[in-house]
């Protein structure tokens, strides 16, 4: 339970060592040097009236309510913009100040509706509060003067209204949009009394550049920018602190409720990952949790052609357990397995892998991270010793150069992107390595220093060339390498070979050699240079190699082990990190320890009371192959829609169809459930009780906002299946699960719910050596001892353009949608992205007679789908791009079986395709003709 209204100290902190003593209203206080008088007073418990000030933004000094008197100073300075000084004597309450403040408030109220009782912000309005605080009793100007009471309301955004008649022009929204979000969509239009908040060039919010992050709504002190849900439902009465279940940033939110109904999600100021910021998904797109499509009762059927029938929990659980045992009896111990989900909590994932290892008695457990960040696990383990990003998000505040490789933070990780943009606006430099001109290449007030627009599939050639420049131009941090690393000499002579030079690879990478050299020099020459990467690195046939290539580069330049540097995966899902940490991979027990390690197995065998196999189990694609072979016959799938999200859909569907038992645990009847025999309804994050671990290894509490709508927690269901299979597995609550993780896993030894409740969140490793966690890794030494240079030979993918399939398809995400879209498609976010479209370069479009908006067919050698074309030059000639948020598009119908050599992570980012006009377009309008609806077909 958190406070509905958190204290607001008015202006931001100025972290530093020094303190000064000031006298505020006769009270001696020691406060940090450089903070404002307002904040100093607030720290001393003295609240100075304010409207335009809020501690999430720099002081602005416009409302003039916070005036104070300073001994020896002239007039009445604003306390928000006046920094404390040694020996300063401040008076915050005098007769004169009271009169001035009342005078200012009198002006405000002379141009404000007097509808407090029926106003949605009634009870949560700073104007109302301040009016009370200053004791305004009369507005002598009357209300007949010039005013804005007739200003219209903008209802265009699906989640919030902008009621201009209530605006006090404090600019908090405008500042939030620029300072916090960095989008600069809002501005003040006009001047003087005509000043008004405007979105872009006076457009509606929806038509403007607004990304609906909610920062403006959060910042508004009145009801001018107000959540639609508050307007409809009224003010929340309680709040619960929890963690967003969308991307890997892991934002902390206060779920604000009336009874059991969520009124709004408010980003939490003290959230370690987001510090009070949010994006359109986490802030607003939570409606799916109560969407009518949600299944609330277990369902079963004998054959996938039968209709579903609702059953009781005991029946469903009993059936699953007995079928699993039967199948094992018949086809052997290894004939069944499970898949964990990165959407679920650490505790839920832990019990699934425990069920597989202890109750099923095999290692056939894998996770959906297989298809996203498994190469991160492999690559960082080989080089640094553990599978995790090296930094906390805050670290980027110290970066002088950021390299963003194969990631699109403004769409995929918007809250972290805002932090990056803030640092870039302070003067840090940006290098983007991506085939697509992502938004960060050029955005308001910012431009990347270098955009290495490489050909898809040539990552390793590019990173090797950068390393080549570092090695051959004398940019290696020799001291760091000598002291901290091994394998350098062999790597150095390998990478110095002429075939790795930028000039030598220019033809295949299509990156101009001089540009690449300049980027490499910028990276190596920076005081602090950090690498951030996404699935554009991992989802390649050399995904793991690329991860190691980046690690090599970081080690060679000494860019590891302190603030501002590092190699950081931007995790796609809320709990990718956690689900991997929890031992979801078939070869690893929790804490990334190989199953062949006798000592580790012994720890778990002791606690679990069952022997653990020392051989790795099947990975997801191996499960499919084995299913088609007939040796793998039953699978428990926790919250993952493999039929939509895994490559080569046809192959996946065939494999699932070949199995005797497919059990799906999910919120919705997804594409996979169409091929399942048992459906176990899952819980949304609002019902879950546990922890998520974000991309910076931060373990955040997920607290239940309501009881499970399905009647059972997911971890309870798992335990009951295991029990029914004859394995005793019981916990009273999820905190006991985390205690078991802590007891068995050294990097989690110090973690407990009690600790998390006390300190908010911790970043693992958290143990005796780091009792409140480890924000930056590899500070004194690498986890594996010495950092290991790995020779990363560039091996071209076999997937390449041919005469029949001359274009390369690559995929990505969009801000408003999340992955396969099963959640965001069930919210008003569809207003921004009603369908997936194919981005195609004007030249490629012209060659094919394709016009903007035409329905086109997209075909690879494995499948074909149709979607609408969007002509744009973000991609180079020869490359097309789409998103994979809508099942109807079926982007994975066309993706192939190629995968990362080390981890089998699918090569989503490179598929040779052909694009053709689907049929002569009657009209270019998307919705004009039903025949134009996109569809996907499987071809044999």
């Amino acid at each position: 339970m958190t406070l509905l209204k958190e204290p607001d100290l008015g202006t931001p902190d100025r972290p530093g060592e020094a303190t000064v003593e000031v006298d505020i209203d006769g009270q001696q206080v020691f406060v940090p040097e450089g903070i404002s008088v307002m904040r100093a007073a607030a720290l001393a418990g003295i609240e100075i009236p304010k409207l335009c000030a809020t501690d999430s933004m720099e002081a602005f000094g416009s409302c003039r309510l916070c005036l104070v008197e300073v001994d020896g100073g002239r007039g009445a300075p604003a306390s928000c913009t006046t920094p404390v000084a040694v020996g300063m004597k401040v008076k915050t309450q005098t007769e004169k100040l009271a009169k001035l403040r009342r005078g200012v408030m009198e002006l405000y109220i002379s141009d404000h509706p007097l509808d407090c009782l029926t106003c949605p912000a009634n009870g949560d309005c700073e104007l109302q509060d301040m009016s009370g605080v200053v004791g305004l009793r009369d507005v002598r100007y009357g209300y007949a003067g010039e005013n804005h009471l007739d200003a219209p309301t903008d209802h265009s955004n699906p989640y919030f209204d902008f009621d201009a008649s209530k605006c006090i022009v404090c600019s908090r929204c405008v500042r939030a949009c620029s300072e916090i979000q960095g989008t600069f969509a809002l501005t003040i239009d006009g001047r003087g009394f005509d000043s008004k908040v405007a979105a872009s060039a006076g457009e509606s919010f929806m038509d403007s550049e607004c990304v609906s992050c909610g920062a403006c709504v959060q910042a508004c002190p009145t009801s001018t920018l107000q959540e639609r849900s508050v307007i409809d439902l009224g003010m929340p009465t309680r709040s619960v602190l929890t963690t967003c279940a969308y991307c890997g940033v892991g934002c902390s939110f206060k779920a604000e409720l009336r009874g059991d109904e969520v009124v709004r999600m408010v980003p939490y100021k003290d959230g370690g990952a987001n510090e009070g910021h949010s994006c359109v998904k986490g802030r607003f797109a939570f409606g799916y949790a109560s969407h009518p499509d949600r299944v609330m009762k277990p369902m079963m059927r004998d054959s996938i052609t039968d209709p579903w029938r609702e059953v009781e929990w005991d029946d469903a659980i009993g059936f699953v357990a007995s079928r699993m045992l039967e199948i094992q009896d018949k086809y052997g111990l290894g004939s069944i397995g499970g898949i964990t989900s990165s959407r679920c909590t650490n505790e839920e994932v832990y019990v699934v892998q425990k069920m597989v290892r202890a109750a099923f008695g095999n290692n056939n457990v894998d996770t959906c991270a297989r298809v996203c960040h498994s190469p991160t696990g492999y690559g960082l383990k080989q080089t640094f010793g553990t599978s995790a990003g090296t930094q906390d998000f805050k670290s980027v505040d110290q970066s002088d150069v950021m390299v963003v490789i194969g990631a699109n933070p403004t769409d995929g990780h918007p809250v972290f992107a805002s932090r990056m943009k803030r640092r870039l606006r302070q003067g840090a430099q940006l290098i983007v390595v991506d085939p697509r001109r992502i938004d960060m290449v050029r955005m308001p007030h910012l431009e990347a220093a270098h955009h290495l627009q490489l050909a898809p599939g040539t990552n390793v050639a590019v990173i090797n060339a950068m390393a080549h420049v570092v090695v051959t131009e004398g940019l290696v941090d020799r001291d760091f390498v000598a002291e901290r690393c091994e394998g350098f000499e062999a790597w150095e002579s390998f990478i110095a070979r002429p075939e790795h030079s930028p000039e030598a690879v220019e033809e295949i990478t299509r990156v101009p050699a001089e540009e690449l050299r300049a980027a490499a020099r910028m990276y190596a020459g920076a005081q602090n240079a950090a690498i951030y990467y996404g699935l554009g690195v991992t989802e390649h046939s050399q995904g793991s190699t690329m991860v190691m290539g980046m690690a090599n580069l970081a080690m060679a330049t000494g860019s590891i082990g302190r603030e501002g540097v590092g190699v950081n995966p931007l995790r796609g899902q809320n709990n990718v990190q956690g689900s991997c940490d929890m031992g979801s991979f078939p070869h690893e027990l929790p804490g990334y320890r190989h199953v062949s390690d006798d000592a580790v197995r012994e720890v778990f065998e002791q606690v679990w009371g069952r022997p653990i196999l020392e051989e790795p189990g099947l990975r997801i694609p191996n499960m499919f192959d084995a299913a088609l072979d007939g040796s793998f016959r039953a699978v428990f799938i926790q919250g993952e829609d493999i039929a939509q999200s895994d490559p080569n859909t046809r192959h996946v569907q065939a494999a699932l169809s070949a199995m005797d038992l497919v059990v799906v645990q999910d919120l919705f009847l997804n594409e996979t459930a169409k091929l399942a025999h048992v459906f176990l309804p899952g819980t949304s994050f609002l019902e879950k009780d546990g922890t998520f671990t974000n991309a910076e290894r931060r373990i955040n509490r997920v607290r239940p906002v309501m009881r499970p709508k399905t009647g059972k927690h997911e971890w309870q269901i798992i335990c009951e299946i295991a029990q029914a299979m004859g394995y005793k597995m019981h916990y009273d609550n999820t905190s006991q699960i985390m205690d078991e993780v802590a007891a068995t896993t050294p990097t989690f030894a110090g973690v407990s719910f009690e600790l998390l409740d006390r300190v908010g969140s911790v970043q693992w490793p958290c143990n005796d050596k780091a009792p409140v966690g480890t924000p930056i890794m590899h500070v004194d030494g690498f986890v594996r001892g010495k950092g290991s240079f790995v020779q990363t030979a560039y091996v071209p993918t076999e997937e390449r353009s041919t005469r029949r399939f001359p274009l390369i398809l690559t995929t990505g995400r969009i801000l408003s949608q999340y992955n396969v879209g099963s959640q965001t498609r069930r919210t008003a976010n569809v207003a921004w992205h009603p369908e997936d479209v194919l981005e195609i370069h004007p030249h490629d479009a012209e060659d094919r007679g394709i016009r903007d908006g035409d329905l086109v067919s997209l075909a690879s050698r494995v499948g074909e789908t149709t979607l609408h074309a969007k002509i744009m030059d973000r991609m180079p000639v020869g490359v097309v791009y789409t998103t994979f948020h809508h099942p109807v598009t079926g982007a994975n119908v066309v993706t192939t079986e190629h995968s990362d050599w080390a981890t089998n992570c699918p090569e989503y980012k490179v598929t040779a395709v052909q694009v053709k006009l689907h049929q002569p377009a009657v009209s270019t309008s998307h919705s004009a003709d039903a025949a134009h609806e996109p569809s996907s077909v499987l071809i044999d």
């Binding site: 005036l67 928000c80 920094p83 100007y141 010039e146 022009v169 003087g192 009394f193």
Partner: protein
């Protein structure tokens, strides 16, 4: 064949507005190039005599004014080119008492030189200030400026040396020099006249400032209403680059300065330094809260000197003649000369550069000659639209920053606007609020809403609605605006309002507008 006669016809826009271009064109038409060398100089600042035509003679420059295009043939026929007598002949320019009584220091070259002639500039002492500055260390230059007592001529009167010292001491680079040429106050035109009549002085002043504080880039922010000033200054900058006065290694020294002109977009508020900086950065012209002061975090967050045109233009003289010479002018803490601008209902309007300490009456009557309408002076607004309205009883007030402050007034940028006895001071008070409402940037509440309410309250007072209560309310509003506004715009708006209330209370006490008969005013005591 004898050498051609040099004839001066100002190109100053004030002169052009009364026909200087036509006069010049007619002169060229009516004479041969062999006989006349036409120089388009700046204005001497005697605006009632424009167009003022000058002829270079062996005795000196002989002035004729005001010359209309129709006078030209007659004047030529009378032998003007030889300096002959004519009803329009004013004698030697230097002998005109109105001019000779002044202390032209900053404006020494304005009207004298060919504005764009670099040689002329050098011949009249140009670049000696910079040359001397380059011989000194930056700290010594700052000390010289500090010693001179020069205060900001834009209006605030902040000591220039102190500002420069702050920027000099700040280690962060790059540093900038920003010249505020957004001269928007009513009745002011000194910045414009200097830029049009002697642009190199401004360039030189900025070079000295750049050397003094270590700046490498300079910006001149000119209001869009000054196209002539902008084009002359921009030509001057071009020529200065060609001469090696700008760019890398100025005059062969270590000093490098690039100078740019930026044109405003018509907002009065951009004359306020922080708004000007916002505008220079390409943003909306809106006040920044201080601190941080621009000297520490100005343009693009870097240490920045922001000075008015006249402040910077005073600097070359201070360097060439020494700070103490400049300091010798003036009184108390107001040292040096001020370039006063006489405007409004005045007989002899124009530029009066003179030492501080001259009385208001001497300026209005002694120089200005009273009203042009011939009616008695009733009020003088000093310091722009936000300055106080002073009655004739204040004519003894010396022009001194502190004396004016004590009198509830301000000198500002040195503009004086004169009104005769037909003025309705309640309407003037209303106008002050209206002006504020029109020009407020809208950032702070007292200014944004207060100015609008101010107009409404004054309207009610004028209309006799609940007058006593509304006078109290107006007083409270003025206090909120004065004490509570973010910048001088809102903070000073009450000054004209309250001075009008204080000095002319009767104008607010009319029973209904327009029915009042004004009591006869005392004739001004001082006459010239």
């Amino acid at each position: 064949m004898s050498a051609p006669v040099t004839v001066y016809v100002p190109r100053d826009s004030a002169a052009r507005s009364v026909g200087a271009d036509e006069v010049a064109a007619r002169l060229l038409e009516a004479t041969s190039r062999d006989h006349v060398r036409l120089v388009r100089n700046g204005s001497r600042g005697m605006l009632w005599l424009e167009p003022l035509v000058e002829i270079a003679t062996s005795e000196g420059r002989v002035a004729y004014g005001s010359v209309s295009v129709d006078d030209v043939d007659d004047l030529l026929a009378a032998g003007m080119l030889a300096g002959a007598e004519h009803p329009k002949r004013l004698g030697l320019t230097d002998g005109i008492e109105w001019l000779s009584r002044q202390s032209r220091v900053t404006f020494a070259r304005v009207g004298v030189v060919d504005p764009l002639s670099a040689d002329d500039y050098l011949a009249h002492g140009g670049m000696t200030g910079l040359r001397r500055a380059l011989e000194l260390t930056p700290a010594e230059v700052v000390a010289e400026v500090t010693e001179s007592g020069l205060r900001g001529r834009g209006g605030a009167g902040f000591p220039a040396g102190v500002k420069w010292q702050t920027v000099l001491q700040t280690e962060q680079t790059p540093k900038y020099i920003c010249c505020n040429a957004d001269e928007g106050d009513s009745g002011t035109f000194a910045d414009r006249m200097l830029m049009e009549g002697d642009p190199y002085t401004l360039v030189e002043g900025m070079l000295v400032a750049a050397h003094a504080v270590g700046a490498t880039e300079g910006y001149v922010y000119i209001r869009s209403e000054y196209p002539d000033a902008a084009s002359i200054l921009s030509s001057a900058i071009e020529i200065a680059y060609a001469r090696g006065w700008l760019g890398q290694n100025v005059l062969g020294s270590e000093l490098s300065l690039d100078l740019f002109i930026r044109i405003g977009a018509g907002a009065y508020i951009c004359g306020e330094e922080t708004s000007m900086l916002e505008s220079l950065e390409g943003k909306r012209g809106e006040i920044r809260a201080k601190p941080p002061i621009p000297a520490l975090a100005g343009l693009f967050g870097q240490p920045t000197v922001v000075n008015n045109v006249i402040t910077l233009a005073a600097v070359p003289g201070i360097l060439s003649d020494g700070g103490s010479a400049y300091h010798a002018y003036g009184m108390e803490r107001s040292r040096g000369t001020q370039v006063f601008q006489l405007a409004g209902n005045i007989a002899h309007g124009g530029i009066v550069e003179t030492a501080f300490g001259i009385t208001l009456g001497e300026l209005v009557i002694g120089y200005g000659g009273g009203t042009i309408s011939g009616r008695p002076v009733r009020a003088v607004q000093v310091g722009g639209p936000l300055g106080a309205y002073l009655p004739t009883s204040s004519f003894d007030l010396p022009m001194d920053y502190e004396a004016f402050t004590a009198a509830g007034a301000m000198i500002g940028h040195g503009g004086l606007v004169v009104f005769d006895d037909s003025v309705d001071m309640a309407q003037q008070a209303r106008f002050a609020m209206e002006f504020c409402a029109e020009e407020s940037c809208g950032k702070c509440t007292p200014c944004r809403i207060g100015s609008v309410r101010g107009v409404e309250v004054i309207d009610r007072i004028i209309a006799g609605e609940d007058r006593e209560a509304n006078l109290v309310l107006l007083d409270d509003l003025c206090e909120v605006m004065t004490e509570g506004s973010l910048c001088a715009m809102g903070g000073l708006t009450p000054m004209p309002v309250q001075s009008a209330l204080r000095h002319f209370p009767d104008d607010f006490a009319k029973d209904s507008p327009g029915t009042r008969t004004r009591p006869a005013q005392l004739a001004p005591e001082a006459t010239s």
